[in-house]
Structure formats: C-alpha cells, structure tokens
C-alpha cells in the first residue's frame, strides 16, 4: 500500500484516517495491567481529548498507537494496517504518518529551531540529507511556513535551548506538522506550561489540526481545556474507558467516576 520511502507524502495520503483500537492491553509488570482490554473507534475527524488521573493509562494508550510503548496484546488498525504487527521498515513508514507532541517538548536542544522542525522530514528523506543538512528547497520553505504558522517566524536560526517553554512546544508542534501526518498525537502537551501559555498551545493545536483536516488525540489532565477544545472526550479510570462522548455531556458525576474524590469539584 505504501510506496518506497522518499516518495512525497501526496502519493500515500489516504482519505480514511479512522483509528480502531481493539482489546488493547498493556502490562508493565506481569499481572498488573495498566490498560485493560481497551477498545475504541475514532472516526478520523476532530480533536479527541483523553482525560483521567495520573497512572491511569492515558499516556500508555497514546504511546501504544505509535509503538513508543509496546502493547502486550491487542490490535490497532489505522490506514488498513494493524500497527501492533508492524516492525522494521514498515513501522517506520507508519510512524512518519503519525505526528507526536510531547509533554517536555523533546527537542534536540543543541540544534537550531529549524533543524528541529526539519526532523519531521526524517522519515521521508535519505540519510545523507540529514547528515549534510542539505534538505530540499521545498522542505526548507515548508519549514519556514510552519514556523510562521506557529508564530515563531523570526526564530529559525536560534538554538532550541534559548527558547521559553511555550516557544519550544510550538517548535514541537511545527515538527509534528512537518511530517504532513494523518494523525496527531499529543501526550500532555500543556502540563509543563503556565495557564496562559497552555491555552495558547491548545488553541494552536486545535486550529492547525482543523486547518489541515488532521484528527488529533490529546492526552490532557486539565478538564477545562479538554471541554473547551475537544470535539469528543474520553475519560479513563484504572485502565478502562468510563466516559465517551461530547464535552457538553460531561457531567460532574462522570468526573467523579473518572477522578474519584469530592473536594476538587466546585
């Protein structure tokens, strides 16, 4: 189904970006599953937020999709393939279609902003281009455009470690978008940011994903942000899904089931 690596992304873009997760199970230690046979279908549109307390498996779920975490059992169907079964080159080809944004930005600190963004093309270009940093003019222009789009127009040649947290996350977003992905994953993208910047980042993710028609799965623990930006909310508790629906259907009783405890609710 996929053309050889190095082809432009246009030839392997598929219109169906739905994601089917079936009976996903993950045990970091035998007998103690963090994900208990989770099944989920996302229909390839809009922003889905996953909420729930720490340790409940939200991060594990998101990371199983692009196999940064190896599932113990289950299936994840995306673009006609079971992602869990892939390995080697096929896995790499699948990963380049999935962009990820990390809680701690995960930039290469010593490289410049634009080099970090260009990392998004590594799944598409031959190694020598990375080694010599000779990317095609098209790629470079696109990198500049993305930097403009995330509001970092003049920062291309600055070293990544000179940026603030919010700015670094923007670079992370640009990097993910540089892959021209069919799916955007975000693992607690705002947890290291202050409240104002968190809103800006969520706004950016939502807008860019919408503009390019890319479905996004965002793992987030701020319920208000989830309500504000998500089209669909999935609440997890102890490795299982306990709520699944649009934000306006999310009631206090659901939040109680997800998070437990009374005191934090107004």
């Amino acid at each position: 189904m996929d053309a050889a690596a190095g082809n432009s992304s246009a030839t392997d873009r598929v219109s169906d970006r739905s994601l089917h997760i079936r009976n996903l199970r993950k045990e970091y230690r035998a007998g103690e599953p963090v994900l208990r046979d989770v099944s989920l279908t996302l229909d390839g549109r809009g922003l889905t937020a996953i909420i729930g307390p720490s340790g409940t498996g939200k991060s594990t779920l998101v990371r199983c999709i692009n196999r940064l975490v190896e599932p113990t059992a289950g299936e994840i169907h995306f673009r006609g393939q079971d992602l869990v079964r892939l390995s080697g080159r096929e896995l790499r080809l699948a990963r380049r279609r999935i962009g990820m944004i990390f809680q701690e930005y995960n930039l290469v600190e010593r490289l410049s902003v634009i080099e970090n963004v260009l990392c998004g093309r590594l799944g598409y270009v031959p190694v020598w281009r990375a080694w010599l940093r000779k990317f095609t003019p098209t790629d470079i222009e696109r990198a500049f455009e993305l930097l403009d789009a995330v509001g970092l127009g003049g920062f291309a040649t600055q070293r990544a470690d000179q940026l603030s947290g919010g700015q670094r996350q923007r670079v992370g977003i640009a990097r993910a978008l540089m892959q021209e992905p069919d799916l955007l994953l975000a693992d607690e993208p705002t947890s290291s940011l202050d409240p104002k910047t968190s809103v800006e980042i969520m706004e950016l993710i939502a807008r860019r994903a919408d503009a390019s028609d890319i479905p996004a799965i965002v793992n987030i623990h701020n319920v208000e942000l989830a309500r504000r930006y998500a089209d669909r909310i999935i609440g997890m508790s102890k490795g299982e899904i306990v709520f699944d629906g649009p934000p306006d259907k999310l009631e206090d009783s659901h939040l109680l089931a997800i998070y437990g405890g009374e005191g934090w609710l107004e």
Binding site: R92, E104, N106, V127
Partner: protein
C-alpha cells in the same frame, strides 16, 4: 543578650583537629619512607646521580645540529607524524560506531557487553606493550606502531563516546524515532548533536596523545623517531638526544595549537 561567660570547660573548639586527614598524612609519610627503602631510592644515590646527571646535561649541550643528524631527525619525525595522523584518523572514524555499540541505552545488551569487553581489552595494555605484540606479529616498522596506536585510540575514544551516549537525554531520541526516522537518522539528528562537542574535545586530546606516543612506539620497533632516539642513547650521542627531545616537544606544542583550533572550529 546574655553576657554570662561560658565556663572554659564547656567551650568547644571551633577548629577540631581533622584526625582522619592527619592520620592519612602520617601514613603517607611512613609509606614514602618504606617504599624508598624497598626501592633503594636513597638520598645518597640521588646525590651521586645528580653529579652524574649534571655531567650528562653538559654532554647534551649544545644540541647536535649537523646536517646528517638533521636528516635522520626529519625522516624519523615524519614517520612518527604519519603514524600519529593515520592512527588518529582511523581511531576517530571507528570509535563512533564502537562507542555507540557499547552504549547500553542504545545497543541491544549482548552487543553492548561484547563491545565493552573489547574496549576494556584495548585499554588495559600500554601502547608500548601493544606495539611490542604487533612488532612480533607483523614485523618491525611503521605498521606495528600504527596498529598499536589505533588500538590505544579506540580504547580511549570509544569508552568516552559510550559514556557520553549513556549520559545523554533520551527524550529527543524518542521524539525523532516517532517521526519514522531510520536508526542512522536518529543517531545523526538526536544522538550526535548531544555528544559531538565532547567528542571533538576527546579527539583533539587523542591526536595530542598519539603524537606523543608515536615517538614512543619506535623504542620497541614500531617505527618513527623512537627508534632514532633509542639508537642515539645506545651510541652515547647525547647531544643528538637533546635535539630529538626538543623536536618532540616542539611538535607536541604545535599539535596542541592545532587541536585547540580544531576544538574552537567545531564546537
């Protein structure tokens, strides 16, 4: 604020004597006396030696600058330089893959342990011993010297590369992997930028070290200025010895300038 004076008995000493340190120093002094006796390192011998030594130094000055000696010096130093340059180049090139293979956070465990064992084997023996072994194996000359220095370079550089890789942050590695990059691309874009600055420093030091050691391996048959030096000693050509030593010092100093330059250029 009370000004009742404290009774002298209960006043604590502000600077109590540091007993562990004092005992340590005493033991050290005792050891020096003990070891000196065992090794027959006596003051008397030292004094006789000084007198001998000053006669020596007199024979060394002025350094011999005769044309035939300079020609010998030139050919010897050239060979040493060649040995050092090639050994450093090969060492630098091979130490990156070997060091990466020995990094426990990147390489699969069997490969990591095997690589580490290899590096330890390379490091344990002095370049001179390795040179002797190579001379026995491949004969006298520059090849043995060069191989010995390659082994020494690999031992030193690969260990440092492995340590640097194990200390780096895995987060950018994770992120670059997630973009679908191949292993090589991950190394180039996420690992090397974190490690390169230190690697350049190590390589510069290794060039330095090889320049110094290349003069050495000749002492045992590995080619280069060492052989010339050894012959000069045996023939009692002490003024030529001085010339050679001065030449070595000069080359090492130039080498240090070059490596300082290299460091600033690439970091």
């Amino acid at each position: 604020m009370s000004d009742v004076p404290l009774p002298a008995r209960t006043r604590r000493d502000a600077f109590p004597p540091n007993w562990p340190a004092r005992i340590g120093l005493a033991l050290l002094a005792l050891y020096v006396v003990y070891a000196s006796t065992i090794l027959d390192v006596t003051w008397a011998r030292f004094l006789t030696g000084l007198e001998q030594g000053s006669r020596f130094l007199a024979r060394m000055f002025p350094p011999n600058m005769a044309a035939d000696k300079l020609a010998l010096l030139y050919s010897g130093m050239s060979e040493s330089l060649q040995i050092a340059i090639i050994a450093t180049a090969i060492g630098v090139l091979l130490s990156l893959p070997l060091g990466l293979a020995a990094a426990r956070n990147l390489a699969p465990p069997p490969l990591a342990w095997a690589s580490r064992a290899l590096i330890v084997a390379f490091r344990t023996f002095h370049p001179v011993i390795v040179a002797i072994l190579f001379v026995k194996a491949v004969g006298f000359g520059a090849l043995a010297g060069m191989l010995a220095l390659v082994v020494a370079s690999l031992g030193f550089l690969s260990k440092l590369v492995a340590e640097a890789v194990e200390e780096m942050s895995m987060k950018p590695v994770e992120a670059v992997r997630a973009t679908g990059a191949s292993f090589l691309a991950v190394v180039i874009m996420a690992v090397l930028p974190q490690v390169m600055a230190r690697f350049i420093g190590f390589s510069a030091y290794q060039l330095d070290s090889n320049l110094r050691n290349s003069a050495l391996v000749g002492l045992v048959g590995g080619g280069g200025i060492g052989a010339t030096l050894f012959t000069a000693f045996q023939r009692f050509d002490y003024d030529f010895v001085l010339t050679i030593v001065l030449a070595i010092i000069a080359v090492v100093m130039v080498g240090e300038v070059v490596s300082g330059f290299m460091r600033r250029l690439f970091q």
